[in-house]
C-alpha cells in the first residue's frame, strides 16, 4: 500500500509510535491493576486514563508555548513535559 500521500517522516512516525505505545501500555496496566477514580490537587475525579489525557494535552501546550515564547530548542520543553506528566500522575 502506497502511503506517500500521508507524507510520513521519521520524527512524526516516532511521535505516533510513542502515542500508540502509551495507549497499549495503559490498557495492559489497566488489565493487570484495574484503575479507580481519585481526587487530587485539582479537586476533580480522575482515572489513570484521564491523567494520561491531561499529560498529553498539557505537553502539547507546553511545546506550543515554548515555541511561541522562547524558540525552537524543544528538548527543554520535552523535559518540562515529562516532569509535568510525572506530577500529573502523582498528584492530580
Amino acid at each position: 500500500m502506497d502511503l506517500a500521500w500521508m507524507a510520513w517522516t521519521w520524527p512524526t512516525g516516532i511521535f505516533f509510535i510513542c502515542i500508540v505505545t502509551a495507549l497499549v501500555a495503559m490498557t495492559v496496566w489497566d488489565r493487570a491493576v484495574p484503575q479507580t477514580e481519585r481526587a487530587g490537587v485539582l479537586g476533580i475525579l480522575t482515572t489513570r486514563g484521564d491523567r494520561l489525557f491531561i499529560s498529553l494535552l498539557g505537553s502539547g501546550w507546553i511545546h506550543l508555548i515554548w515555541l511561541g515564547v522562547v524558540g525552537p530548542q524543544l528538548w527543554i520543553a520535552s523535559i518540562i513535559s515529562v516532569v509535568f506528566a510525572l506530577c500529573v500522575f502523582r498528584w492530580v
Partner: protein, 290 residues
C-alpha cells in the same frame, strides 16, 4: 462459578473503529505530517521542522483571528444559553401547542448552513433586503458590507436565529423529564417561580446544559459557512474567524504546511477549552448527584 466474559462484542465495534480511523485518525495523522514539511504539490515534501508553528504562534494575523473567534463564541454563548432556557421555560408543557412550538423551534435547524448565510445576506442588504431596507427607512445607518460593527451584529444575530433552537430543544427535553412531584413539593412549601427555577429546574438542567454549552462552543468556534457567505470575512478582516483564515491559507494560498500547523494549534485550543468546560460542568453534576 466465575462468570465468563463474552469478548465477541469487540467484533461489533470494529466497523466503528475502522470508520473513525478513515474519517478522523488518518486525516489527523496526515495533518501532523504536513505540519512539519513544506510542499509545492506532486507529493514532493521538504522538511521544515517547527518553523510553521513558530511562524503561526508569532503572527499578528493569527492572534487577531483567535481574539475574534473567542469574542464571537463568548457573545453567542452569553446570548443563546440564557435565551434558550427562557424560551424553553415559556413553552407549554402539555396540549395542542406543544407540537406546534417544537416544529417552529426545529425549523431553523433543518436549513443548510449555506442557505442560512444566503438568507441573511439578502435579508440584511440595504437595497433589496427587508431588514436592511427597513432599518434604512428608520434612519439607521446600517451597512454590513462596509461597517465592521454592522457586519458583527449581522453575523451574531444570524447565529442566534439559527442555533438558539438547539439550546431550546435540549432544555425543553430536560424540563419535561422533571417529575411533577418536585413541583408539587415546591407548591406545598410556597416556593416562588424564581425559587423553583433556581433550586429545581436549573440543577436538573445541568446535564443538558453541559451538552448545549459544549455543542454551541465547539460549533461556534469552528464556524465557517454562514459568515463566509454573508461577509466573506470582511469588511477588511473584521469577521475573519479562525476557520475562514485557515481555508484562505490552505486553499487560497495553497500553503499546506503552514495551514496544517494552524490546524493543529486550532485543534489543541478546542480540545483544551472543551475539556475545561466538561470538567467544570461534570464536576458540578457529580456534586449535585450526591
Amino acid at each position: 462459578m466465575e462468570k465468563k466474559v463474552n469478548q465477541k462484542a469487540w467484533f461489533f465495534v470494529l466497523p466503528v473503529v475502522l470508520l473513525v480511523a478513515f474519517s478522523a485518525l488518518i486525516p489527523l495523522m496526515t495533518v501532523v505530517n504536513y505540519s512539519v514539511q513544506d510542499t509545492f504539490g506532486n507529493n514532493a515534501f521538504f522538511w521544515a521542522g517547527t518553523d510553521w508553528f513558530t511562524d503561526i504562534l508569532r503572527s499578528e494575523r493569527f492572534h487577531s483571528a483567535l481574539w475574534r473567534q473567542f469574542l464571537f463564541s463568548g457573545i453567542i454563548l452569553a446570548i443563546e444559553v440564557p435565551l434558550g432556557i427562557a424560551i424553553a421555560l415559556a413553552m407549554p408543557r402539555r396540549g395542542l401547542w406543544v407540537p406546534v412550538c417544537l416544529v417552529l423551534m426545529a425549523l431553523p435547524l433543518l436549513i443548510p448552513w449555506n442557505v442560512v448565510g444566503t438568507i441573511w445576506q439578502v435579508f440584511a442588504r440595504v437595497d433589496i433586503g427587508l431588514l436592511g431596507h427597513t432599518l434604512a427607512n428608520l434612519g439607521i445607518d446600517f451597512n454590513y458590507t462596509q461597517d465592521p460593527l454592522d457586519a458583527w451584529i449581522t453575523v451574531v444575530v444570524m447565529d442566534v436565529w439559527h442555533w438558539t433552537s438547539l439550546v431550546v430543544l435540549l432544555c425543553y427535553a430536560g424540563l419535561q423529564s422533571i417529575p411533577d412531584a418536585y413541583y408539587q413539593a415546591a407548591r406545598i412549601d410556597g416556593a416562588s417561580k424564581w425559587a423553583i427555577f433556581r433550586y429545581i429546574q436549573l440543577p436538573k438542567l445541568h446535564r443538558v446544559l453541559l451538552i448545549a454549552v459544549l455543542l454551541r462552543f465547539m460549533d461556534s468556534f469552528m464556524i465557517y459557512t454562514e459568515p463566509f457567505v454573508v461577509t466573506g470575512g470582511g469588511p477588511g478582516s473584521a469577521t475573519t474567524f479562525l476557520s475562514i483564515d485557515l481555508v484562505k491559507m490552505a486553499i487560497g494560498q495553497f500553503d499546506l504546511g503552514r495551514a496544517a500547523a494552524f490546524s493543529i494549534i486550532y485543534f489543541l485550543i478546542i480540545l483544551l477549552v472543551s475539556w475545561a468546560f466538561y470538567t467544570v460542568m461534570t464536576g458540578k453534576t457529580k456534586e449535585s448527584d450526591r
